[in-house]
Every structure is written in structure tokens, then in C-alpha cells.
């Protein structure tokens, strides 16, 4: 089965570098509510990395907020916190916080809800995938948080003096970190930071040692697929497959540009047939695999697919975000496409006001015309109501 994934004008246009953005795509009318979710007075979102809904319509938000803390006066420098997980009901009313103080909540990347309403958190700081049951208790933990970090040595000439102008040592404003080992995991990471024993770069080890974990998805049997990882030119670049109890089955991919290779994975989604769609950000494409890792197709939208989501139901669609980057308000539109790559339409643009998007990192599309988008740039979740045909 070798389906042709081509966009509109086909391979010739793609070879010339044509992008989705440059193609004619019908505009989809939509409304946005940027004020649906009501947090308690003393609680705030930071960069919102993940948003997902469960079968009851409850909304889960995984956000980078508060400061990650590093210790001093310890044998090594340990760190904690930095991200929080919140639950809201379908009207946006705050229900609860889940996972207060959890060891692996460091740098939010995504949250997904499986068919049984379990809550899966993906953290690119701790490198972990953490499964909570619907009650909010931890059921499964994958990968291991690096034990410690190294603090950067002062850089000659970096920054301007002390905080208020005395000529002291440069402030350690950004605080933590160390040169990574060759594979790219933070210092003291578990084995497998990007290079298995004698294996190719990015292939990782046969197991659940992740780097900058990008996403998680499941097939109909409950097998777990992890997009590992997000690093651009660093760390792992593979998809790892596990059974429903997290026993390692296989992994595929390495760093590169050939079919089946990756650079900077951004997300993963699985359709009803069990095909695995991987947002291969650095290569500006979405690669499609069967459940054994055989390349079936590739969609080249001409931009970095920063977030992808596949709708449920008999007729499945995929949403793809052409998110702006930190230093622009260019692009930002979200495409709705058929699973074979044909464009249905697009909507939105980059910006900071409601109905505009600022660095979308995750899309929830449980309902085809009622989306939730998580924005890193503007610290919020928007509920979008699409009005196709208008």
C-alpha cells in the first residue's frame, strides 16, 4: 500500500519548494474564545504547551509556569518544578490541579487523553511521559529525569556587570546548564542520550530513555508511540513503540533527511487505521508510517509542522499549525487537510489578540469544528469554533 501524499499541485510544485501557505486554500470562518478557562485568582498560565479534552469535555492544560528551581549547597545541582497541570470542566470552570510537585513536571510539552480518559503528560525537561488515571493518580512513568544539572561558568564579557551596575561578576541570569554529552542529553542523563552503543546519531537505545520528548499517541490496541525528540541537531530523533504496559517493542529513525529519518520531532498522531503521522519539524514534513515503522508516505507542507491533530470519527481530518517563531508574527495559520494531504481550508494568523495565534504548540480536535489551541507565545488557550461553509 503506497498511497500518494501530495498537496494540491503535486510533486513538481513541492520540488520547487511551494508551500501550503503559498497555495490557494479556502479561508474557514471561525470564532475564538480566549477567555473560556477561569483560573483561581492566585494562579496563572505561563507558556501553555499542551491542551486536551476528555470524553466528558473536560479540558486539561499543561503549562510552563512558575520558576524551575535549582539547589545550591548540594553535592550536585538539582532542580524541580517549572510546570503545572490544570483541569477545567466543559464550561471553563476550574476543577483542580493535578500532580502538584510531581518530580517530572519541569518543562511542559504536551498533554493527551487516551480513549479511557487517562491523562498523559509529556515533559521535554524531565524527558518523561507520565500517565495519570482519570482520578489523577500516576499509573505509569516512562524515561527518567536527569538527576542533576551543571551550572554554567561565568562567560567572559557576557552581560553588563552586576544587576544594578556595579562591575562585579556577570549575573547568572539564565542560571543552569552544562555542555551536553555528545548525544545531547543534559548532564547526568540516563544512558542513550541520542546515540545507542555504536548506533547511528539520534537512534537512541532500545528502551524508554528519551530526550526532549515531543509527543505520545496510541493505536487501537493501546500500544504507545513516543515522538523522541524535539532537539534540533541534538538528542534523539526517532519514534519508539511500546506495548500498553510500556514494554519496549521497537524504535525507528535516526537523525537525517532521508525517508524514515528525522530532525526535531514536533508531534505524533495516529489515525483509525493505525497509521502513524509524525511531525518531522526540522525536515518540514509529516511522515506517515505503518505500525511497524515502514514509511508509507510523506506530506511536505513547506513549513515546520509545529502541531498536528487527527480528528476521530468516520471521516478523519488532520489539523496542522504553521506556527510563528519567537521573533516574528509571520504565518501562524492552521490548515485543515484530508489524511491524503488535500487541503480543505485554513484559518487564522499570528498575533497577540484573541483570534490570532502566537506560537501554537498543541491542538485538540476531539470535535472537528470545536478546537482548543495551546499557545506558548501568549500564555493562553483559545477555544475555536469553526464555521465551515460560511
Amino acid at each position: 500500500m503506497r498511497r500518494a501524499f501530495r498537496l494540491l499541485t503535486g510533486a513538481a510544485a513541492l520540488a520547487l519548494g511551494a508551500s501550503l501557505a503559498a497555495q490557494t486554500a479556502p479561508e474557514i470562518a471561525y470564532d475564538a474564545n480566549a477567555d473560556l478557562l477561569k483560573l483561581p485568582d492566585s494562579t496563572h498560565f505561563g507558556e501553555v504547551a499542551g491542551v486536551a479534552t476528555n470524553s466528558k469535555g473536560h479540558i486539561f492544560v499543561y503549562t510552563r509556569t512558575g520558576a524551575a528551581h535549582a539547589t545550591v549547597g548540594t553535592s550536585r545541582t538539582f532542580y524541580k518544578s517549572g510546570s503545572r497541570l490544570f483541569e477545567f470542566d466543559q464550561t471553563g470552570k476550574f476543577v483542580r490541579e493535578i500532580g502538584v510537585g510531581v518530580y517530572g513536571f519541569n518543562n511542559a510539552q504536551a498533554v493527551r487523553i487516551d480513549p479511557q480518559d487517562n491523562i498523559w503528560v509529556v515533559d521535554r525537561g524531565s524527558t518523561q511521559v507520565i500517565k495519570f488515571d482519570p482520578e489523577g493518580r500516576i499509573q505509569l512513568v516512562m524515561s527518567r529525569k536527569p538527576e542533576a544539572i551543571a551550572v554554567r561558568a561565568p562567560a567572559p564579557g557576557a552581560g553588563r556587570g552586576g544587576a544594578e551596575g556595579r562591575g562585579g561578576p556577570p549575573p547568572e541570569g539564565r542560571g543552569v546548564g552544562a555542555p551536553p554529552p555528545p548525544g545531547g542529553a543534559p548532564a547526568a542523563a540516563p544512558a542513550g542520550g541520542g546515540r545507542g552503543p555504536a548506533g547511528p546519531a539520534g537512534a537512541g537505545i532500545p528502551g524508554d530513555s528519551f530526550t526532549r520528548t515531543a509527543g505520545v499517541a496510541w493505536d487501537a490496541q493501546g500500544n504507545i508511540y513516543v515522538a523522541d525528540g524535539q532537539g534540533d541537531g541534538i538528542g534523539n530523533a526517532r519514534v519508539a513503540k511500546f506495548d500498553k504496559d510500556a514494554h519496549f517493542i521497537k524504535s525507528w529513525g535516526q537523525r537525517g533527511t532521508n525517508p524514515g529519518e528525522f530532525n526535531s520531532l514536533r508531534g505524533i498522531a495516529i489515525d483509525a487505521k493505525g497509521l502513524v503521522y509524525v511531525a518531522d519539524g526540522g525536515n518540514k514534513r509529516i511522515q506517515v508510517f505503518d505500525g511497524d515503522g515502514n514509511v508509507k508516505a510523506s506530506v511536505s507542507p513547506g513549513f515546520v509542522p509545529a502541531a498536528i491533530c487527527i480528528t476521530p470519527g468516520p471521516h478523519q481530518y488532520m489539523y496542522i499549525s504553521n506556527s510563528n517563531d519567537t521573533d516574528s508574527l509571520d504565518n501562524g495559520e492552521i490548515y485543515k487537510v484530508e489524511l491524503d494531504g488535500k487541503i480543505v481550508g485554513k484559518f487564522g494568523r499570528a498575533g497577540r489578540v484573541p483570534k490570532e495565534f502566537n506560537i501554537v504548540n498543541q491542538i485538540d480536535c476531539r470535535n472537528e469544528n470545536e478546537l482548543f489551541v495551546a499557545e506558548l507565545g501568549s500564555w493562553r488557550v483559545q477555544k475555536l469554533t469553526l464555521k465551515p461553509g460560511k
Binding site: 496563572h44 520558576a67 541570569g173 519567537t326 508574527l329
Partner: protein, 349 residues
């Protein structure tokens, strides 16, 4: 009194370079003293809540006082017009790491400038975040990018700040940010936070900056930039073109332009925060000026007692005779009541 207005083009060769970090004795002499009082213990804190370094202070249209402080964490507090504690805003916020300034716009939105997270954050009057500009450096990128060289200190990008220092708005709602310790520039955005332009490079010529540390805007949309390490206040037009500068009032750590039909410019020649008594002997005073640079008078001196100033970092001048000043080294905010009517009639001009 002589005016100390220097126009561009006249003085390029005359300016002497101020060494970085040096604190200048103000050149202005025989400036009349403005009598004033300091209201003791104006802000009332609940038990076990403390102010750290007093970095930012601003009032809203109701007279509520907002204080942005570097305490155990960087925190933002609100007090009412009588100094009673109202609430904390933004507890645990992702962008609160190292306070630098707080300002309140005409619609009573509260804006904070944080030079640790490199972010400018707009809260609505209810205390909820409604806009952020700039982006906190990515922690995970930092983990793997640190070779000992650090990040580029001069990114000079549209939406990336390098230790930004202050924020202001013109009548159209355009947003101006002084940025800052890393990039010596001022950045202009529209009211929705879209980049329009930036201007300024490191140096001591007109239009060049060394540590733009504070800024204020007048009703006409001109930008008054505290060019701290160059020991001068620069005035730029709304398109960020150099107009003039005042180099006779020391190193401007904090500037404020009062509202109303007759606007005044306040400039603090703050005592350095390094405890050097020699510098303290010749700095610490605050100047009241006309917008054209004419000095009306000055008040205060360096020190930690009431009516003394311990490194003023921000001034609120919504009422030009009732100021709030936040101080770094004595961890406080003083409410200052000026009594210009008591000035000697000979003073000021």
C-alpha cells in the same frame, strides 16, 4: 537659571564619554531646594509579607499603589490609596524572575518589565495577564546550549529583549520598551504588540545609548530616555529620532513625566548601589524639570533615613506634588509630599 538644552549636531565633539558604571555628579549648580516631607510607613504589610528591593512603583487612577519587588521571589503587590494591602498579583508567574519596572497605563492596566525573564507583561485591572511581549529564554535549550559562552547578549531582534528596563505608551496606545542592559535601544510596538521599529546603538553620540534604564512619555508622544551610563536624559520623537538631551542632572536611574496640562519631568540621580560613600556624597537627589530641560528645583539626598533616598529605581508622578519612589538598597517605597509653594520666590528660574 540657565537652560541646559543641547541640540544634536552642536555637541558631537564636545561630549566627554562617561566611563561605564560611573556615577556622575550633576553638573547643574545652585539649584533651589524644593521643601518636602516623607510619609512614614505609608504601605501596610500583612504579617510575614515583606518588601525586597524596591524596584518598581506606580499608581493607578484610583490612587492604588503597585509595587514590583525583588523579594524571595519577584512579586507584585497592590495597596489602596491609604496604603492598606489589597492583594498580590501574579504569584508564581512564569515571567516573574527579576523585577525591573511597573507602570500603569491610562486604562489602569498594569505593565511589568522583568529583566530576568526578558518579558514585558500586561495585566488587566483585575490582575489577569492579557498580553506578553518578549519570551523567557527556553530552559531546555539553555541546558544543552551552554558552552560557557552564554547566549548572545545583543540579540537585537523584534520580539526578543535583552534585560529590558522600562515601558511606556503614547496616546495611540503604541508601546515603547527600553531594552536595556543587553541591547542599547528603544523598541516601538503597536497597541497589539506588533513590532514597528527599534532605534539606538551602543555609544555616546546623540541617539546612541549606554544602558537605557528608564523612560517616560509626554502627551505629544516624545520619549524621555534615562541614558544612565552616559549620564544624560535623551528626548526622542515618536518615531524614535533624536531631538535633544539634558546632561546636567547626573545619571538618570529613574525618570517620570507627570500628566495634566502642565507636564513636569522628574529625574533621579540615584546613589549607586555599591555602598561607596564617596559617590553617596554627591548623588541621590531628584530633579524637577520642565519638559524643555529647565531645572525647577531638586530635593533629597543619598541615605537610608526618611527623606533620604537609597538608590531610587522608579518614581511615580501621577500627582506631581505627591510622589512615590521605590528604593533598591533600603527595601522600601516612600511617599513624598512636595511643597513647592514654600520655595523661595527667587528660585527656579
Amino acid at each position: 537659571m540657565r537652560r541646559f538644552i543641547i541640540a544634536s549636531g552642536v555637541i558631537v565633539g564636545l561630549l566627554s564619554a562617561s566611563p561605564l558604571f560611573a556615577q556622575s555628579k550633576a553638573k547643574a549648580e545652585n539649584v533651589p531646594e524644593i521643601p518636602f516631607e516623607s510619609v512614614p510607613n505609608f504601605l501596610k504589610f500583612p504579617a510575614n509579607l515583606y518588601l525586597g528591593e524596591g524596584i518598581g512603583v506606580a499608581t493607578n487612577s484610583k490612587g492604588h499603589v503597585f509595587v514590583y519587588t525583588r523579594s524571595g521571589d519577584t512579586r507584585l503587590f497592590e495597596f489602596d490609596q491609604n496604603g492598606a494591602f489589597v492583594r498580590e498579583i501574579g504569584a508564581g508567574l512564569y515571567g516573574f524572575t527579576f523585577a525591573h519596572a511597573v507602570r500603569v497605563d491610562k486604562d489602569d492596566n498594569i505593565w511589568t518589565v522583568d529583566e530576568g525573564s526578558n518579558m514585558v507583561i500586561k495585566f488587566n485591572p483585575a490582575g489577569r495577564v492579557v498580553m506578553v511581549i518578549g519570551r523567557r529564554p527556553d530552559a531546555v535549550d539553555e541546558l544543552t546550549a551552554m558552552s560557557g559562552q552564554g547566549s548572545a547578549p545583543h540579540p537585537n531582534k523584534p520580539y526578543t529583549f535583552s534585560r529590558p528596563t522600562d515601558v511606556g505608551w503614547d496616546a495611540q496606545g503604541n508601546i515603547f520598551v527600553t531594552d536595556g542592559y543587553g541591547d542599547d535601544r528603544v523598541v516601538k510596538f503597536d497597541k497589539n504588540g506588533r513590532f514597528i521599529k527599534s532605534a539606538g546603538t551602543a555609544g555616546n553620540g546623540p541617539g546612541q545609548l549606554r544602558l537605557p534604564h528608564t523612560m517616560a512619555m509626554d502627551a505629544a508622544g516624545n520619549v524621555y530616555i534615562g541614558d544612565r551610563s552616559n549620564a544624560r536624559v535623551q528626548v526622542w520623537d515618536n518615531d524614535l529620532n533624536f531631538k535633544t538631551m539634558f546632561d546636567n542632572v547626573g545619571s538618570p536611574w529613574a525618570v517620570c513625566v507627570s500628566p495634566g496640562p502642565h507636564q513636569y519631568l522628574f529625574v533621579s540621580n540615584s546613589v549607586p548601589d555599591n555602598g561607596d560613600s564617596r559617590a553617596a556624597a554627591q548623588t541621590g537627589e531628584i530633579y524637577k524639570m520642565e519638559l524643555d530641560g529647565t531645572i525647577i528645583g531638586k530635593f533629597g539626598k543619598a541615605g537610608k533615613a526618611l527623606k533620604e533616598f537609597s538608590t531610587v529605581h522608579e518614581i511615580d508622578c501621577r500627582n506631581p506634588n505627591e510622589l512615590f519612589v521605590s528604593e533598591i538598597t533600603d527595601w522600601r517605597v516612600q511617599k513624598i509630599v512636595l511643597k513647592p509653594q514654600a520655595m523661595k520666590s527667587s528660585g527656579g528660574r
